[in-house]
């Protein structure tokens, strides 16, 4: 009987506390009766092995006690299917939230590609904890719901006419497909957010010698908004995989927006420019390479427009098959057009005329230094505060000795839009080459002077300006004419003029090689 007592003790441990004594007493009587019956059949007392066999057949103490519990499961069969769907959705949403968080953190905080990976990995490592939390809370909520199930009654008071409309896509949209779509679009958004700080993400190694044209800055925010819109649609599709008219309308809206952006980009005419200053690693045939890249962009744009139009047509066909209200259809389609119209207007219009000078207060900033690099940095600082180059003079000042003085102006309403580049050399041929490179990158001649530098002797300094907001900056071919004799200069100017070169500036330079020379700068427009 020692074995029986040990068995009952083990069963008791797992029983509900309030019923322990009662159940054990009854169980004990039943098992003793069974033992006695068996002993009577055998005509002798049971051995320990025979007692063990009976107890083993009765069941493991934990399982036996478990059957006396009123609650046999945490979530019953009524709520279990809904629980599974809720759990899947919760885990997927947690994953998407984690990915978005990782993407945004990387975009905001990362300073290099390695940091991007670190931020994304660090965020992804938070997912298991979040998934566990989602699992725990979902299970707890459904367990509570199941506990209250006795009071919840599914009645017949529901209207079948309020069920969702018949689905048009028989196959629907695979959830896995939607999930990948969500992940890829968000990855694209991260990429978009990183590109301004890490141009190599779009240009690769060519980022060292290429600059993006100003048009990309103009359409950057609209592209970002369209990508966020697409991500929203993909998320909606993931949650509701079956076709709905709302999704088609949303897709059409995003595609129409995309089309407008593409038109704006196409109108720019050129999309990549040579970097300024040109690095030593720049290829010799940089201009040809840029032309090739721009042609590639043009072809890519054409393909993208075609795909976009096809997508719009497909969604319209779906809506037509769905026989939705034509008026509502037209109204919803007009909405993105109305939203996109301002972008189109901006794309089509010329730059806005400057406000009348007389009406606005004019501010001045005077910059003086004897170092070319300092002057370029100071001019750019001023330009970033909305100033524009006004004039330049080189000479002896009462404070700084031999200095270059630049005067910059700003209207109260001015916004930063100009970039400046100073070229300083004592060789005319070098100056002509550097000016040409800057000219190819969209810089325009604004002024020149002579700079008496500490180490370089007298140098000719040329100031060039680039308008960041100009959709298509003018391009010029530069020719510098340097001579010691005025008659020769006149002759050379006549020859240049015959070829279409226009005089833009002149200075007298005492160069290291040529002695005192007159340097005239001429230019003629190219590709206009």
């Amino acid at each position: 009987m020692d074995l029986l007592k040990r068995y009952l003790q083990a069963v008791k441990f797992f029983l509900p506390r309030g019923q322990q004594e009662d159940i054990i007493r009854e169980l004990s009587e039943n098992l003793i009766s069974q033992f006695e019956d068996r002993e009577e059949a055998l005509g002798r007392p049971l051995t320990e092995d025979e007692q063990a066999d009976i107890l083993r057949a009765h069941g493991h103490p934990m399982l036996v006690a478990g059957r006396y519990r009123s609650r046999q499961q945490l979530i019953g069969p009524v709520f279990f299917p809904i629980y599974l769907i809720a759990l899947q959705a919760g885990l997927a949403i947690a994953l998407i939230v984690t990915l978005v968080e990782g993407a945004l953190t990387a975009a905001i905080q990362a300073r290099a590609f390695d940091h991007v990976i670190q931020h994304i990995v660090a965020t992804l490592l938070r997912y298991p904890g979040r998934a566990l939390m989602v699992f725990g809370w979902t299970t707890l909520c459904f367990a509570a719901l199941d506990l209250a199930q006795a009071h919840v009654r599914f009645t017949h008071a529901w209207d079948p006419r309020k069920l969702p409309e018949l689905r048009i896509d028989e196959a629907g949209h695979s959830r896995m497909h939607s999930l990948f779509e969500v992940i890829f679009i968000w990855a694209g958004i991260v990429w978009l957010l990183l590109v301004p700080r890490m141009p190599f993400l779009i240009l690769g190694p060519a980022a060292a010698f290429l600059d993006a044209a100003p048009i990309w800055r103009t359409i950057y925010v609209p592209i970002l908004l369209l990508a966020v819109g697409s991500a929203g649609i993909a998320l909606f599709t993931f949650i509701r995989p079956h076709w709905t008219p709302a999704r088609s309308y949303a897709r059409v809206a995003v595609n129409v927006g995309g089309l407008i952006v593409m038109v704006m980009v196409a109108r720019a005419g050129e999309w990549f420019l040579p970097a300024v200053p040109a690095p030593a690693s720049a290829p010799h045939n940089l201009t040809g390479l840029i032309d090739l890249i721009n042609i590639g962009v043009q072809v890519g744009l054409a393909v993208a427009v075609f795909i976009n139009v096809a997508e719009i047509a497909r969604e319209l066909m779906r809506l037509k098959r769905g026989r939705h209200n034509a008026l509502m259809h037209a109204a919803l389609l007009a909405l993105p057009m109305l939203v996109g119209a301002p972008f189109l207007a901006v794309a089509a219009s010329e730059p806005a005329p400057a406000p009348p000078v007389a009406a606005a207060r004019v501010e001045y900033r005077m910059l003086a230094t004897n170092k070319t690099s300092t002057m370029q940095a100071e001019m750019q600082d001023a330009a970033d505060s909305g100033f524009q180059f006004g004039g330049v003079m080189g000479g002896e000042t009462s404070f700084g000795g031999s200095e270059v003085v630049v005067i910059m102006t700003r209207l109260a309403t001015s916004k930063p839009r100009y970039q400046y580049k100073l070229l300083a050399t004592n060789k005319t041929s070098t100056m002509q080459r550097e000016m040409q490179e800057a000219g190819n990158a969209g810089f325009e001649y604004r002024g020149q002077t002579v700079f008496k530098s500490t180490f370089g002797g007298k140098e000719v300094v040329t100031i060039l300006e680039r308008d960041r907001d100009a959709p298509k900056p003018p391009r010029y071919e530069y020719r510098l004419l340097a001579t010691k004799k005025t008659s020769t200069l006149e002759k050379e100017l006549q020859e240049a003029g015959a070829e279409g070169f226009v005089f833009v500036g002149v200075t007298v330079a005492e160069t290291a090689i040529g002695g005192s020379e007159i340097v005239a700068i001429t230019r003629r427009p190219v590709g206009q």
Partner: protein
């Protein structure tokens, strides 16, 4: 898992599901006369309905909680035992359940007697 084992496991699951409802009717029917746990189990076994103790004893307590059975501790053969019997509510419930049981049996017989059912032939030939 081999196909035969899978079939056996499936059969065992379905058999348990089928027996679960029947067992309650059988227990209620058996407890028209007073029994304690062990003798009830023996009685059911003698009629070909083998039941685990782990299933039967908790079931008795549940049916009592639902008001279908009543129980009392009484001395028999010098030992205290808990005897169960059908309550008035349990008697009514048994009547309803037996009517339902007969209705199901009749429906099933009707379905099986349909001429085109291969299963009817299998049942009738005992295969």
């Amino acid at each position: 898992m081999p196909a035969a084992d899978m079939d056996n496991a499936l059969f065992e699951n379905l058999r348990l599901e089928l027996r679960r409802g029947c067992l309650i009717v059988a227990v209620l029917a058996a407890l028209r006369s007073e029994q304690y746990g062990y003798t009830l189990r023996k009685l059911l076994g003698e009629h070909g309905l083998q039941v685990d103790e782990g299933t039967l004893y908790p079931l008795l307590r549940r049916l009592e909680t639902q008001g279908l059975l009543v129980s009392e501790w009484r001395e028999e053969a010098k030992r205290n035992k808990r005897f169960y019997r059908l309550s008035d509510q349990g008697t009514q419930m048994l009547t309803h359940l037996l009517a339902e049981w007969r209705s199901i049996d009749s429906s099933l017989q009707g379905i099986l007697s349909e001429p085109h059912h291969g299963l009817a032939q299998a049942v009738s030939t005992g295969r």
